[in-house]
Symmetry: C2
Subunit: 332 residues, 2 copies
């Protein structure tokens, strides 16, 4: 018998199976797992041996029910692929996993109905907190969260009326900052390209309002699919534009590819660009391409880590502005 854990039923061994084998009560086995200091060394050794021999893996589902603690957090993002939200998920899970929390991940795909379903699905697993990108799109979603009586962290925004805690930055001000920079550069004809999700729209609003307030003609806005390829052709729809704010770096890089084809991209500094381009996200890639991409840098992983902290500590500041940074390189 090479595998001591063979034979016996197909079923996973339980606490009491281990207990029986070690000649102790099951509560003692439970303590060996959770509070080993309360168990005498010899007993502990005996129990640990039995656990090894049986290949015991604790059943956290049962544990969670009994203790009313699931040690899990629900995380809801619009999408995880090709997205800066992955940084946030990484940040929060790096903080949470070592503490024994598991991350239950759900994607809304920018769909309000799916978001509500995912929220309900998450909540029925009784996570100890919910971290989401943005705010619930519907009143139903908000009510669900408000009644859950667990920490809720909204991220990537600074909602006026948050459900509970917030870790984000001011998308409106990001738009303002870009517009201000373009204007200081002497650009006259501004445009905004990107999605029309809530955060993109806030950026657009800030961009738009500041341009108007500075006496410019209203900027143009082009709503694009979420993949960058559409932005390659965007330039054709923006005649006369000399400065573009892209809602994310992927769109910015796509747009620059279009400019290159049109012969409107220089390898020189921003001042030499016929059309200035600024993105958002500060993808590593933006630093590497030529001309290098100017961008609004936001710290996606810091948002995740901060959100994690907010789920762990009740009390203290519940609204954290992580800010952003206008990083100027050669594109704009």
């Amino acid at each position: 018998m090479t595998d001591t854990e063979t034979s016996s039923s197909q079923l996973a061994p339980t606490l009491s199976a281990v207990a029986k084998r070690a000649g102790v009560s099951s509560i003692t086995v439970s303590r060996v797992v959770r509070l080993p200091d309360l168990v005498a060394p010899e007993t502990r050794a005996r129990v640990e041996k039995a656990m090894r021999e049986l290949g015991y893996v604790p059943n956290l589902v049962a544990g969670a029910l009994a203790s009313a603690k699931t040690n899990s957090v629900g995380v809801l993002v619009p999408t995880i692929a090709n997205s800066i939200f992955a940084d946030t998920v990484q940040g929060l899970s790096d903080k949470l996993e070592p503490l024994g929390y598991s991350v239950i991940l759900a994607q809304s795909r920018y769909d309000a109905a799916r978001e509500d379903r995912m929220l309900a699905a998450l909540l029925s697993r009784r996570p100890e907190a919910i971290i989401m990108v943005g705010s619930p799109a519907t009143e139903d979603g908000k009510r669900l969260l408000r009644h859950a009586r667990i920490p809720i962290v909204e991220t990537w925004e600074l909602p006026i009326d948050p459900i509970d805690a917030v870790a984000g930055f001011d998308n409106y001000e990001a738009g303002v900052a870009v517009a201000r920079h373009f204007i200081a550069q002497g650009r006259q004809h501004l445009a905004f390209i990107g999605g029309d999700d809530p955060r993109g729209t806030r950026r657009w609003l800030g961009f738009h309002d500041h341009a108007l307030a500075s006496g410019l003609r209203p900027p143009r806005r082009l709503i694009l699919e979420r993949n960058a390829s559409g932005s390659v052709a965007a330039h054709a729809n923006l005649p006369g534009v000399d400065a573009v704010f892209a809602a994310n770096d992927a769109h910015a890089i796509g747009f620059m590819a279009g400019l290159r084809k049109a012969g409107l991209l220089r390898d020189g500094p921003a001042s030499a660009q016929p059309v200035a381009v600024i993105g958002l996200g500060d993808l590593e890639m933006g630093r590497l391409i030529s001309p290098s991409l100017s961008t609004i840098s936001v710290h996606g992983d810091a948002i995740g880590r901060t959100a994690a902290t907010l789920t762990l500590e009740r009390g203290g500041e519940r609204r954290i502005d992580l800010g952003f940074e206008l990083v100027l390189r050669d594109s704009g």
Copy 2:
């Protein structure tokens, strides 16, 4: 009283609270949630009203314990940020979420010990399957999975001795394909840059073996940090090299940035490049930059969706090779 669900204790309402309010037994409420067809329409309406009034959210933790079905799958990836694995996670969760499964996500961070811990943590939540990138790095990890008696899907590789199911492609052959292409192009001095994780190493091996078998001098191998910035400087360490296979597109783009600085990058076609570069992953960005990036295209999302299918269907082919494609553009 605007909120009917207020007052009453702080505790979340249970099945039997709903039952009492609706004047039925709790099992009937359970049926309304799971098997509504078994309940008479009027009874169902009464129960649904009570659920709404109380703001009832089913407790899947209890349900899972009672039914021995958690409706969850554990997913283990090395990392999720800036990574093509995000596509795989998206693919599998798009397939699984509509079926009522939740994704429990864990990251190993390319650390064998952390991987083992995460595997044990996942397993203790009794997922109905585990999907992971690659194979467990340790024997302990393998044993854990083998004893779990649930579907296990290893992805992004085609291990010789899989634990259960596999959805991936042949990394060795990808290396061979790139070497073959370089050689056909008349390149003489090959190099490989990238990480030394198992998949990267397989690619290197194929690349190396094929170069040798074709009579070339042994390719050089440069092991880099996981972020692309290191690859910018890589060229200095590879004098005389005229063709580079980067283990992923980010490294390839970083390397090209270095070449550009060194004046070794042309906007022309591959034949005009002093140093040919081929990446792996087929990032959208690679298409957009100039010169456009040649790459091994792998379908990360298809891997995820296939893995999901493999967890749902026992029986049938358990080893699926999704293949790869050498996509030739201007960089090599």
